[in-house]
Assembly symmetry: C2
Homo-oligomer: 307 residues x 2
């Protein structure tokens, strides 16, 4: 089986949406990426850090999905990264109520030996120096490196972010962040500028408005599935990235045509993520549901005009 | 050839966008619908009203596109409807600077005799009583009636609007208007409520984020074409509706499957409209350009996952 190496936060989240609120629940970019990628035929490992307040039950949940957690450091006496957010009525905007870095503050990632030859590396949202350090530890150049990041790093670590962006193949980023990074309002122009910073492929995530894949002058668009109710958008972008990276890892094909499928799979998995709080829906998602919804994506987008 | 009857405003517009501003130029819902529908193999007529300040050159522009203007009343001594708007930097929001109804205030539509048997009726944005009056004048029930409307009529003529909505087959409406009309935030729920008001088909226009077609439990989505620059969004929604109605008129097929194609054609034509001020791009658009861009829509959305 092909190998996918995942880097990112493993966290406690406390979430409030118009539909309710949670206590501290399982969260973090690497968690969502890992759960999403576990729907593909691959071996995956998470490189991250938690404190010893992190419950065994959550670790078991990851290993139950065949995710290798030998690179998930548990710091004795340390506290796990904590994020708390409040979503507004439209669910498109949110306020961050708390960010406690805790054990993340001094995190030095250690890639497990048997994942230093991973086929695909998914650099989830974390300090760009951590993302770079993971690439430095690889024994073999991966077939594909995908990076996700946030406006936070553009504000406080832009030079380091630009350095790691030079080294990757695919960037996934949301629309506002693409505008901030490029200084361009038009997403077509923004993608061109970001492409010039390094990555061959630029994926711009627009939340409920879908996602765009840019490669040279080619563009592909995947809609978000229209849902009766979006319950909690937390983790949707990471779930999307995990589906994308997972599909590419399984299929061993990094062509633009195959990336279209990867984008659809990412959108598909993200459409489940938002149906419940946190990781709740992803943990109980089975293969038949994913396949059935792929059919919905086909009906939603495929047409047959004779030209 | 099949016949398409178009009702809506014919107007002077004065537009300001971040890219520049215009004096009074040709505008109006029926104008954009007519120009867009003229790309199909059909006979069309516009029912509307202007003052005698409306230049012959604009009338010629319509008849040059084979649009019958015998139902376009010219009021002696009257002034043509005038609208002026200022778009904000994101081009997604605008302020209306002036609305002078002029000859529209007392408009009594008169459907030309040879269009009282039209196959398709496109009721563009106007007072719902004018839209109803046009339906009353038909000798034969049209194969399809499409209605476009605006929040303005929801605010000031809701009972009349709900009456005409009962009599139509397809409504095209933008996302905020769908939310206002239905009282539902989720567009899936909004479409279901609007469906229950009468129309079998509900089209929700999301501007740069594309358009959704709802029919019972089926959904189709057409993206807007990602453009380097959107110059002026004025008329894009009407151009979309005109492309939709024009394609249906030409193809004589009102199935959900064929409406998917009509939505794509509408999006295709609208993508040209926004490239220049007002009707400028539509007037000089030729068939080869439209066909070439259809190919772009295919590349943008079509994928091939084996399920």
């Amino acid at each position: 089986m092909n190998k996918l190496l995942i880097v990112g936060t493993v966290a406690f989240d406390a979430i409030e949406t118009p539909f309710g609120k949670t206590d501290k629940i399982l969260g973090g970019a690497a968690t969502y990426i890992g759960l999403s990628a576990s729907h593909f035929n691959l071996e995956s490992a998470i490189v991250s850090v938690v404190g010893d307040d992190f419950p065994q039950e959550y670790l078991d949940l990851l290993t139950d999905r065949n995710i290798d957690i030998s690179g998930l450091e548990v710091v004795k006496g340390g506290k796990t990264f904590f994020w708390s957010g409040l979503y507004h009525n439209d669910l498109n905007s949110r306020d961050t109520l708390a960010t406690e870095l805790n054990v993340l503050a001094d995190f030095q990632p250690k890639v497990p030996q048997n994942f230093k030859t991973a086929d695909v590396v998914m650099l989830g949202n974390l300090h760009p120096l951590v993302q770079s350090s993971v690439l430095d530890q690889m024994d073999v150049k991966p077939k594909l490196v995908v990076l996700d990041t946030m406006n936070f790093w553009m504000d406080c670590a832009l030079p380091e972010l630009l350095e790691v962006i030079k080294r990757i193949d695919v960037i996934t980023i949301n629309d506002e962040e693409a505008r901030q990074l490029s200084g361009e309002y038009s997403l077509v122009k923004a993608a061109a500028k970001i492409h010039a910073m390094g990555p061959e492929f630029v994926v711009i995530k627009k939340g409920e408005h879908g996602a765009l894949l840019f490669h040279n002058h080619q563009i592909f668009f995947a809609p978000a599935l229209p849902l009766e109710e979006v319950f909690d958008p937390t983790g949707a972008g990471d779930t999307f990235a995990g589906g994308f990276a997972g599909y590419i890892t399984q299929s061993e094909n990094i062509s633009f045509e195959n990336m279209k499928n990867a984008i659809i799979y990412g959108s598909n998995l993200a459409s489940f993520c938002v149906e419940r709080f946190g990781t709740e829906r992803m943990v109980h998602l089975d293969k038949d549901e994913v396949i059935a919804r792929l059919q919905q994506f086909k009906s939603l987008t495929q047409f047959d005009i004779e030209i």
